[in-house]
């Protein structure tokens, strides 16, 4: 491994360890707010991994949408609906062993499969400008799926407004 390959590998390893640690905090923290904060940080690190792989647009979008949008709404909801009993509740139920075994099996399967496919492949790890290509793709070859997704989102928005209405207004 040369020096140029060494640095991205070290950064990737650091980010991967942090990501795993934060993900464990997400599922084990007793306070819902704390686990949401850990999830926010984990999503931010995913953005870092995208940036390390050279996907600059995806990295910034990940940060903008997940950290700056979805997680803020989630934290907002948690702040509005916190119960003081939540801190004393058990974190697991009687099926925790089966759940853990299943998660372990999935992890092993993924590791084996990824090692078989991506062995010895190094990402360029140079931030390449990708926004132009993504824009051409979204408004060119992928225009139909892109517009279909917008329609689905519009339907979701209209539905959210409908559910948010007062009962009398609905009728």
């Amino acid at each position: 491994m040369t020096m140029e390959q060494m640095i991205p590998t070290v950064i990737f390893a650091a980010m991967a360890i942090l990501l795993i640690g934060l993900s464990l905090i997400v599922v084990t923290a007793k306070s819902v707010f704390r686990s949401a904060i850990a999830l926010t940080a984990a999503l931010g690190i995913v953005a870092g991994i995208f940036a390390l792989l050279g996907a600059d647009f995806v990295a910034a979008s990940q940060l903008l949408i997940y950290v700056g949008g979805i997680m803020i709404i989630m934290l907002f909801v948690i702040m509005l609906s916190q119960r003081s009993t939540a801190l004393t509740e058990r974190q697991t139920n009687e099926q925790w062993l089966w759940g853990a075994l299943f998660a372990l099996a999935v992890t092993c399967a993924l590791i084996v499969q990824f090692r078989a496919v991506y062995r010895g492949v190094f990402a360029t790890s140079v931030p390449t400008p990708t926004s132009v290509a993504i824009g051409r793709l979204l408004l060119g070859d992928m225009i139909v799926p892109f517009e279909a997704i917008s329609l689905v989102l519009l339907a979701a928005l209209v539905g959210a407004v409908y559910f948010g209405l007062d009962y009398e207004e609905k009728l």
Partner: protein, 359 residues
């Protein structure tokens, strides 16, 4: 004529060759140079709020016939330094009911992103720290992290005023982020790039020999985009008339009620650094960046950029001391029923103009 860009790049060249001659590997010299550059940016970003706090005091004093700082040093220049020293010596209080970890981390989360946001700002010729291809998106994405810090401060303090302030802050920041991002879209459509440096460079020159090619002078589209960006930026920085997350007369101090000493100072630093960042973005996006229109070359480019930025900063200060605070529901209505439709209409208009221009 004192262009800083070439001087700094020459200095770094000399430093690198000198360090390599001393026997440091090329990679080490590169890392050293980058660390020093990062250090310069961090230092500048930490110093700017001190200037802005002083400016805020003086401007408010002139506008409202107050006295303003006078005692500490000539014209009270040392007042912010004295404030800083006072804040360092204050006791660091953590309330018993607070979530300790969240409480301690909140100011750091709120403050750290602002340093990163200055990376793609084109300060002048050869003074672009990193010319990112996605600068605009990058700044919006990273500055969004600050909202998490506001929410953490609100929740982690274990105080109902802080909680209300945090909730209000989250609602306001998320809402105003949308028209703010959409108001920039026409700029990107006209110039076909997201790089702030590229956008600033595209605005150099004159139309018909008298009108600068700045985006704010594009008919209709430019003015609407600039106004929406300016209003949404004031809201994003939590300043009056949009300061309901920290409204003193309603919520004590809002989300930072329970913070004292340096942790409070970090929130303050973040606020003023964001004011500076928003102004710098407005200059790069709408006011031609470091372009000096008729008097190009009369002053160095970085001075043009800083001068224009401080002109916009003055607008921020002016708003704060002349407008009354908006009510919470009015604030939301203003964003969702006025700014958002207009910014979308502006995008449609810009699309039409780009289409006609390219025909």
């Amino acid at each position: 004529m004192l262009e800083l860009g070439p001087i700094i790049s020459n200095a770094f060249q000399a430093l690198q060759t000198w360090v390599i001659a001393l026997g440091v590997p090329v990679l080490g010299a590169w890392i050293l140079a980058k660390s020093i550059q990062v250090g310069i940016i961090v230092l500048l970003v930490s110093l700017v709020p001190m200037v802005l706090v002083y400016a805020e005091r003086k401007v408010s004093a002139f506008m409202q016939a107050r006295l303003g700082p006078m005692e500490v040093g000539p014209f009270g220049i040392l007042q912010t330094l004295a404030d800083g020293i006072k804040l360092i010596f204050k006791e660091d209080i953590i309330p018993i009911g607070a979530d300790r970890m969240v409480h301690i981390m909140a100011p750091m989360v709120a403050c750290a992103p602002v340093f990163v946001c200055f990376a793609p700002i084109p300060f002048g010729k050869g003074l672009v720290p990193i010319d990112l291809d996605i600068s605009v998106l990058f700044i919006f994405a990273v500055s969004g992290v600050t909202t998490i810090g506001v929410l953490m401060a609100g929740w982690g303090s274990g105080n109902k005023f802080a909680m209300l302030g945090g909730l209000r802050g989250a609602a306001q920041l998320v809402s105003y982020e949308i028209p703010r991002v959409l108001s920039v879209v026409p700029v990107l459509m006209f110039y076909g790039t997201q790089s702030l440096h590229g956008i600033a460079m595209a605005q150099h020159g004159l139309w018909h020999g008298f009108l600068p090619k700045w985006f704010i002078f594009y008919p209709v589209v430019g003015q609407i985009a600039f106004l929406i960006f300016l209003i949404a930026s004031v809201a994003e920085t939590n300043r009056t008339p949009f300061d309901i997350p920290e409204a003193e007369s309603e919520l004590v101090a809002g989300f930072h009620t329970e913070f004292s000493g340096l942790k409070f100072a970090l929130f303050f630093l973040a606020e003023y650094a964001y004011v500076f960042l928003s102004s710098a973005m407005a200059v790069a996006l709408f006011l031609g960046g470091d372009d000096g229109f008729y008097a190009n070359g009369f002053l160095p480019s970085w001075l043009w950029f800083i001068g224009k930025t401080f002109a916009i900063v003055f607008l921020f200060l002016w708003f704060r001391w002349t407008f009354p605070r908006l009510r919470v529901d009015r604030l939301m209505q203003f964003c969702w029923k006025f700014l958002l439709p207009w910014s979308i209409a502006n995008i449609a208009l810009a699309g039409l103009m780009v289409l006609l221009l390219h025909k």
